[in-house]
């Protein structure tokens, strides 16, 4: 397959990458087709979205641009701050205040010719869902569970299943997700329908520690207690109605002063301005090296998914560099009943059925046996059992046709929340249903959008 008369040293930019993309191998992905065409396709057609232009995002943009990807977009709603400069290497002191996405895109394009990066200075929710469907792979460099959850829901909403409950390959939107904190980090590959999605393994994220209110109010013992008292209790008492702004230095100083007073009152040491900021803003320590490591792992996986040039990470890598170096690869399994990436239970209905009749059906359905159901469709409440105000508002829908309520779609996803019996105990449960209306002309193959 390799050309035997290739001249020795070609002055090519892709001198190193070529070895990986132009040559056949044995430890490669199942669909790997080495050659110039692969290189060209990567260059011309593959679009990658980088979500976040901070510590991970800057590294990701660089790594992807130097891994053969030419068409990148980056989205970030934040502006550059001084405390970013110890690791977000695309930004300089004079850039403070400017939008991260725009500066990052500009800097990478300046240094790497031929790469095109479109910046989006906005919230991820501001883009319509179809925007995310343009990309072959979405690489995440985020710092919150909520943001990850959102992108995950969007990417999984493109997923469709065939009649054998297998995911349809062309609807799978791969995501590569990275996260860091001090010397620790993780990198994971998410193939909706195949590997667990973010929601399937939500239990991986430990709940955030919150101090009991009585400790803060009556028996503080640590500096953090004094700080949170000032932040969560005293602020509201004194500044009725005015929300606390953690980015306002005056607000922060006020909290610090109050915390100091309280600490002195109780004889508690350790309240410093720096510590106060850390507790109030939940500051996560961050360094360049960990971000570099995790982003590089993510970029490498992105390259592998896009080209098949090697085996992929399967599917979750944890990393800890504080004591020696520990990495572990875990192959997590999907939750078949996942409300976000699962197929949902398929229900065939007559288009004339009312919402009330539909709910009655749920009680009788052998796999569901769901009573007192609340029903939502694409985020809209069709019927809510509670609170009374909502119940009253949605009650008229009960006698309406479900098909009409669902915008006359021949099939779509519906979420139902109700009570079910398990081992003689009644428990609440949420279920994803694939509703299909019999005999309706299903011309438009609609997205099975996740309405969550």
């Amino acid at each position: 397959m390799a050309d035997t008369s290739v001249p020795l040293q070609q002055p090519s930019r892709s001198r190193d990458l070529d070895k990986l993309l132009l040559r056949p191998g044995n430890l490669v992905g199942p669909t790997f087709e080495p050659g110039e065409q692969l290189s060209k396709d990567l260059d011309e057609y593959v679009r990658i979205l980088v979500v976040g232009a901070g510590g991970l995002g800057c590294e990701l943009l660089k790594d992807l641009a130097l891994s053969g990807f030419r068409n990148l977009e980056v989205i970030d709603m934040d502006r550059i701050e001084v405390t970013n400069l110890n690791r977000q290497f695309l930004f300089r002191l004079e850039d403070v205040g400017k939008p991260k996405a725009e500066v990052a895109a500009k800097r990478v394009m300046e240094r790497i010719s031929g790469v095109d990066i479109v910046p989006h200075f906005c919230r991820i929710e501001d883009k319509n869902i179809e925007f995310y469907n343009e990309f072959a792979i979405i690489a995440l460099g985020l710092d919150s569970i909520e943001a990850r959850s959102y992108i995950n829901t969007v990417a999984c909403s493109f997923l469709e299943y065939d009649s054998d409950d297998n995911p349809r390959e062309e609807t799978i939107k791969p995501m590569v997700d990275g996260g860091t904190e001090g010397f620790k980090g993780h990198a994971r590959v998410i193939m909706p329908g195949i590997t667990p999605c973010f929601e399937c393994t939500i239990w991986l994220f430990p709940p955030q520690v919150k101090f009991p209110l009585c400790t803060l109010a009556e028996t503080p013992r640590t500096a953090a207690h004094c700080i949170e008292y000032a932040h969560l209790i005293k602020w509201d008492e004194v500044h009725r109605g005015v929300p606390f702004d953690p980015d306002n230095p005056k607000n922060m100083k006020w909290v610090y002063d109050e915390a100091v007073k309280r600490a002195e009152l109780f004889g508690i040491p350790g309240v410093t301005y720096s510590f106060t900021q850390g507790v109030v803003k939940n500051i996560i320590p961050a360094i360049a090296s960990t971000n570099a490591i995790i982003s590089a792992a993510c970029a490498l996986e992105t390259l592998k998914i896009a080209t098949g040039c090697s085996k992929t990470l399967s599917n979750y890598l944890t990393y800890n560099g504080s004591e020696g170096l520990h990495t572990k690869v875990t192959e997590f399994e999907r939750d078949k009943d996942c409300l976000v990436c699962g197929p949902g239970i398929r229900i065939e209905l007559d288009p004339s059925i009312t919402l009330q009749k539909f709910m009655d059906l749920l009680e009788e359905h052998p796999k569901l046996q769901l009573s007192k159901a609340s029903v939502t469709h694409r985020g809209k409440n069709l019927y809510m059992q509670a609170p009374p105000v909502l119940e009253e508002m949605t009650r008229p829908n009960l006698s309406l046709s479900l098909f009409n309520l669902m915008g006359k779609l021949p099939k779509d996803i519906v979420h139902v929340n109700g009570m079910t019996s398990k081992n003689d105990q009644k428990t609440s449960c949420l279920r994803k249903l694939r509703v299909v209306f019999k005999g309706v002309d299903g011309v438009a193959d609609m997205d099975t959008a996740g309405g969550a």
Partner: protein, 519 residues
Amino acid sequence: MAEPKVKYDRQLRIWGDQGQAALEKSNICLLNCGPTGSETLKNLVLGGIGSITVVDGSKVEAGDLGNNFLVDQSSLGQSKAKCVCSFLQELNDAVKAKFVEEYPDTLIETNPSFFSQFTLVVATQLVESSMVKLDRICREANVILIFARSYGLTGFVRISLKEHTVIESKPEHFLDDLRLNNPWPELKSFAEGFDLNVQDPVAHKHIPYVVILVKLADEWAKSHGGSLPSTREEKKEFKAGMVAQDEDNYREAIESSFKVFAPRGISSELQQILNDSSVEVDSSSSDFWVLVAALKDFVTNEGGGEAPLEGSIPDMTSSTEQYVNLQNIYQAKAEADFLAIEQMVRNTLKKIGRDPNSIPTATIKSFCKNARKLKVCRYRPIENEFNSPNLPELQKYLTDEDYSIAVGIYILLRAVDRFAANYNSFPGQFDSAMDEDIARLKSTTIGLLNDLGCNSAALPEDLINEMCRFGAAELHAVAALVGGIASQEVIKLITRQFVPISGTYIFNGIDHKSQILFL
């Protein structure tokens, strides 16, 4: 110029002002500024490293534009070291950046004294023979050395110096030092001042769990000939009395009961350090070993088998007043232990002919707080590892499924260097010779394994093929990852905080099952 404190806020929260000061005082040398070396240095420069010298004799060519962010179009044809240096300067105008347009191998051969001026040398993309020579030079000059290499989807990082001692190892999870299994007189009498059967419910639910456990343990010992619960039944019985109390402090006491059952005294790891031959100190001993000598004296005598008390206590359900009182008890003992050790340190310094005040009080204090967490890292000279690796370990890796790719990479990375020495190019460097190279690499590998004493071992064919496919490519993503790890190790070595990697870290970018090998 950005006010240093603010810019570095996010990292100061990890290594503090002292760690930062150590970074800002250091002088680093980088050998070869391809992406592996450049990325290593980029991270260090961003973090505020004091001075850097980039050594590389090559000129920037088209291929470099495809894998190195620190060179750009305008640098084509120029000295790579010069270009990388100027970009690094842009990243942090406080760093003192120099470059030397010279091939590292030449410097190693002709000017070994060049390296003595540096705190640490980051040697990237060196072949086996150069590694051995450089290692000798740096050991001689007492310069910290760290090797890093990217090769296709593989790589490695290996620190090399005689000894690295750590006081502030800052382990993530480490048991608090409450001494519930061995309370001292003041703690005992503090606990005696509480009545576990107090009528007032508010008082009852605010008794700190430390007090609960000290009292219950004392009661138990009195009725069991002085011993604490040791069998499963005894431990269950001990906890049973507390289960009935449905209060937070009792719940905390149950959760922490294991601290009562834990064996007294110091860990075996610490005992090993106290038994080390370096504890026999003399005037050439490092401060660390002088401190350890004093620690050994304390543990053996005044400490009664225990290290100095750490002094802090975790948060627990309690009234503020009682919590603060309890804190004071612990702090007082920690202070007393510290003063005893301080005296021993000053005496030891005098004995070995050093100024008794030459180790600052703050250092001794930090040493006492961290005494249970000390770490000593030692590294074999590269030559020794290469010529006579730990054979049992090597054989274990070769037959263990979890290690097979990693150890395969380790062997192959050395085999490709031998190959290059014989054939003047790396295997697979040219498309035309692929099949031939695979065969040659295979026989080179077998030869190497024989030399190392592993005659019957064989590496997976696929891996050998893959190594040829790589053709010594330096891929950016891999270089960034390996460089990231190298930079992190440099930080640990210079700040003397956290624990550096012992052994050789092998990066496996094929399935990410990377491993650390101890050879």
